[in-house]
């Protein structure tokens, strides 16, 4: 028997509610003290098509999806077929009798099939409960969970509890009872097969309390913990759930959230709120961010603290709205005309989405500049069971930097305050408008220390421009170097940024397990960085492989600009799907020959794209093919 270590895939059409049942089941498991990682795969359509959600369950913490699946809950024909190659021998597919499978193929792959009259039963139970067929059929989810509990010998009460909670509140008890009934029925029907099924889910002795949160919720939480009281945004996948989450929490924390007429207004509202003294943010995806570029530069010029989240998806342009990618790094680093200080941070993992977003608000007020958070579709929707200790909300220390207190303002002589005073470190004490001693204007034109338009005098221009840009030197001292993972002086170093963090770590583990000594150098803080220190870190890498979700290896370009160091090879993926550790490990193995050859020779420069790019693209193609089959 395999205990508490399995992946379950729940697949069907959009609207069949796999996502909710997935999360529901995950909650039951988390309450049972198990660790869960759930990621979603869905299409840009509201009904039909094919979506699935994937639960990875373990009694150790899990941070990324795995490739091998132990159980598939198939709510339509495609679900039953699509994942055959991923199912481990002895694994199973749970499905309605209406769905027919290629039994020969199953046999040959040693996959079991558990069929039940789910639909018939759902309708039978739903009718008296006054559910129309559409609604009744949604109970397939509950039924399938019943079966899952049965064959994994997971206690029925634990899913019963969730069912009651999910439906009890929302829709009134008739529906709750119906769902309970079908779950019970399914459980009893399926228990007979438990003996035949290897994977078991056993609640922990004394389960610890954990939350289950996805990346976008964590970003919202980071903002709230940091005292962000205001978010204005315009809906755009995969960023929408940030404002939706904060809106859902707005009563609890007394937040103002605003859906604006467009993204231009979204960032402008936030800038207005920030200028008035409130910690404010906006969140969007690349296309919406494109519309924010002009105002971003204005915030840079008026030195207004601001946090902007870009949740990346594949482009260019509309691209693949529900998919994932890492194509916006160079864009956000250079967005808007001319130059101003900004900070770019790319969290990796749910806990990092929380902590680094919270940090972003302190940085924004400390340096009085925009801070950009780069996340992506995969991370936005992937949930993980998070220990209370991982997110110590109450303990976060809000640091408003050189923001003047009312007491300090009271000390000022009227007319003496200079919003843009020339200072050593380039940061000018900031007054929140409304105090009689600090009446001032800010302007997007070049300006005097008082914030008055001065778009002629060269000396003033130089002084103000250098004052702003000086802040970058101070940031460099504070911004964090990329983190190492894995054995020191390994033969291979995998370099990545942001959401690929745990997939790369898994790849490192797999490689070392396979006897390939590898480690990882991962960037969360990306801009600005201290070039000297970074050069030292990179010097520790013998053969540097860049792993990115884009075509031109953007981080590799940034690193070369910083340090001159070129990467030795690249693993680039741009099919809109997240990396998995196994993929990366395989790709590295494919390159091993070149690596070993290389390690004899002295370091050669890799091309920005060109040959290596191509070989890397081949790898990506291979992965993609797997994906297609998958």
């Amino acid at each position: 028997m395999i205990k508490n270590n399995m992946t379950i895939k729940i697949g069907g059409e959009a609207g069949q509610g796999m996502d909710t049942s997935g999360v529901g089941f995950a909650r039951a498991l988390v309450r049972a003290g198990l660790h869960v990682f759930v990621n979603q795969d869905f299409m840009s359509r509201i009904r039909g098509g094919y979506n699935f959600s994937q639960l990875r369950i373990s009694d150790k913490p899990v941070y990324a999806p795995e490739n091998s699946v132990a159980l598939v809950l198939a709510f339509n024909q495609q679900a039953a077929e699509q994942h055959l190659d991923e199912i481990a021998p002895g694994g199973a597919i749970i499905h309605d009798v209406g769905i027919n499978l290629d039994t020969a193929r199953l046999a040959e792959k040693h996959i079991q099939s558990f069929a039940f009259p789910f639909e018939a039963k759902a309708l039978e139970i739903g009718r008296p409960a006054g559910m129309d067929p559409k609604k009744a059929k949604l109970m397939l989810n509950t039924a399938a969970l019943g079966v899952t509990a049965a064959i994994t010998e997971f206690p029925f009460e634990r899913i019963a509890e969730i069912i009651l909670q999910n439906f009890g509140k929302k829709k009134g008890s008739a529906i709750a009872d119906a769902n309970l009934a079908i779950a019970r029925w399914a459980y009893d029907e399926a228990i007979q097969y438990a003996a035949r099924y290897e994977w078991k889910l056993v609640p922990a002795e004394n389960p610890v309390n954990r939350m289950i949160l996805n990346g976008n919720q964590a970003i919202g939480l980071g903002a709230i913990a940091a005292g962000c009281k205001f978010i204005s945004a315009y809906p755009m996948t995969p960023a929408t759930t940030i404002i939706e989450f904060m809106t859902a929490q707005s009563k609890r924390f007394n937040l103002v959230t605003k859906q604006t007429e467009d993204e231009l207004a979204a960032i402008l509202y936030a800038i207005g709120a920030a200028q008035a003294g409130v910690r404010a943010m906006t969140a969007t995806s690349g296309g919406g961010f494109s519309l924010m570029v002009e105002a971003l530069g204005m915030a840079g010029m008026t030195e207004t603290p601001l946090v902007v989240v870009d949740s990346q998806r594949p482009g260019p342009s509309t691209g693949m709205p529900t998919r994932t990618g890492q194509g916006d790094l160079l864009f956000v680093m250079h967005a808007s005309q001319d130059e101003f200080p900004r900070i770019v941070i790319a969290p990796g993992g749910v806990e990092s989405c929380y902590a680094d977003t919270a940090r972003a608000f302190n940085l924004a007020e400390k340096y009085q500049c925009p801070v950009l958070i780069l996340t992506e579709g995969y991370q936005a929707f992937a949930s993980r069971s998070v220990g209370i200790e991982e997110m110590p909300f109450e303990e976060f220390v809000i640091d408003r930097g050189k923001t003047l207190t009312d007491a300090e303002l009271d000390q000022l002589q009227p007319g003496e305050y200079k919003r843009y005073a020339l200072t050593e470190d380039g940061i000018s004490p900031r007054a929140i408008p409304g105090h009689p001693n600090a009446v001032y204007t800010s302007t997007s034109d070049e300006h005097t220390e008082y914030g008055r338009i001065e778009d002629e005098d060269p000396a003033n221009r130089i002084a103000q421009h250098e004052k702003r840009m000086r802040k970058i030197e101070m940031m460099k001292k504070e911004m964090r170097m990329p983190e190492w993972y894995g054995p020191k002086n390994a033969a291979i170093t995998l370099m990545g940024w942001g959401a690929t963090r745990y997939a790369i770590r898994e790849a490192v583990d797999l490689l070392n397990a396979a006897g390939v000594k590898a480690n990882a150098l991962h960037f969360i803080d990306i801009y600005p960085l201290d070039e000297k220190r970074l050069e030292k870190e990179l010097a520790k890498a013998q053969y540097l492989i860049d792993v990115e979700g884009n075509y031109t290896a953007q981080l590799a370009q940034v690193v070369r600009t910083y340090t001159g160091r070129a990467v030795d090879n690249k693993i680039l993926k741009y099919d809109g799907r997240p990396f998995t550790g196994a993929e990366i490990a395989d790709a590295v193995k494919n390159q091993l020959k070149r690596v070993t050859a290389h390690l004899a020779k002295p370091l050669v420069k890799a091309k920005i794209s060109g040959r290596n790019g191509h070989s890397a693209r081949k790898v990506a193609k291979k992965m993609a093919r797997r994906q297609v089959k998958a």
Binding site: I212, G434, T443
Partner: protein
């Protein structure tokens, strides 16, 4: 909404001079904007709004330079983008009197989208448009309010578009205060600005502003004989939507100035629970453990 601070403190004696800026004004001699900025000062003094409780937002253009010449809080932002900034400021601190002072290109041209949606919200802000019917700062291209057929460097055969009628669009679009005034009538401007700022809700004041350089048609001489005051007509009721619409269309030999339309609707800010009591900027930024425990429970 409790508004503790807008009452002026005793020590303030507010006169138009109170709002005098320290900067050299770069407008052309004879520009209508001089009259407008003075009228703004008069209105602020009259309403006893001290400089630190006023917040002016503008865009880019000749008219948008106004806050730079005024002693009051201000944000001179981007061309066409003043209204969302103004609404953001108001949500963050509804004790501030937020006033946008912008050009016609700014407010009705590039900014038309924000204008349309701001009116629907009825945020408690004032939008003063220095409407010279031309793009002045960029040297005289036609603007949305230029008359059809207007000749300019980008329309040598005359502008093809029909004029944008701000007051018609405002009444149709849900503004709760719609007025027009004239840069040649300082008293009237001050009076209308004061009413607009006092109005609770979104107030538009379209100011017929003369540009002595790029608009030699709609001059003071041209306007003077045409404008007439709605106040002089006791029968005119600005709360009558249809009557207002009629008036709003009147243009040419006779041009009505004054308050065209008034409506009462709760302001946006009054409908946001989170700021029913204390302005957002004054609220605590962190939360007691109990609140967090509640939250955690909900996600376990």
């Amino acid at each position: 909404m409790i508004d503790t601070t807008v009452k002026t403190m005793p020590e303030f004696v507010l006169t138009p001079k109170t709002y005098e800026g320290e900067r050299e004004i770069t407008w052309c001699p004879g520009c209508g904007d001089f009259g407008i900025i003075n009228a703004v000062k008069v209105a602020l003094a009259q309403l006893k709004i001290p400089p630190h409780q006023a917040f002016l937002v503008s865009g880019i253009g000749c008219g948008s330079k106004l806050p730079d010449y005024l002693k009051a809080n201000g944000y001179l932002g981007l061309h066409g983008r003043s209204l969302p900034i103004a609404q953001g400021v108001k949500l963050a601190n509804h004790n501030l009197k937020v006033i946008a002072t912008i050009g016609d290109g700014d407010g009705y041209g590039i900014g038309a989208g924000h204008f349309v949606h701001a009116m629907r919200r009825n945020s408690d802000i004032t939008m003063i448009v220095e409407d010279n019917k031309v793009y002045a700062l960029t040297k005289g291209q036609y603007s949305p309010t230029s008359t059809k057929g207007w000749i300019s460097s980008t329309t040598p055969d005359g502008a093809v578009e029909i004029e944008f009628n701000p007051v018609v669009m405002a009444i149709a679009g849900g503004a709760t205060f719609v007025a027009r005034t004239f840069s040649g009538d300082p008293k009237h401007m001050a009076q209308i600005f004061a009413k607009a700022i006092e109005h609770k809700g979104f107030a538009l004041v379209d100011v017929l502003q003369v540009c002595v350089i790029y608009n030699n048609v709609n001059t003071t001489e041209w306007y003077r004989p045409r404008v007439y005051k709605l106040d002089d007509d006791p029968t005119y009721n600005p709360r009558d939507y249809n009557a207002a619409m009629q008036k709003a269309h009147e243009w040419g030999d006779r041009i009505p100035i004054g308050v065209l339309y008034v409506d009462e609707r709760p302001t946006y800010e009054d409908q946001v629970k989170a700021i029913a009591e204390i302005p957002l900027v004054k609220q605590p930024m962190s939360y007691p453990k109990a609140t967090w425990d509640e939250f955690r429970a909900a996600f376990m």
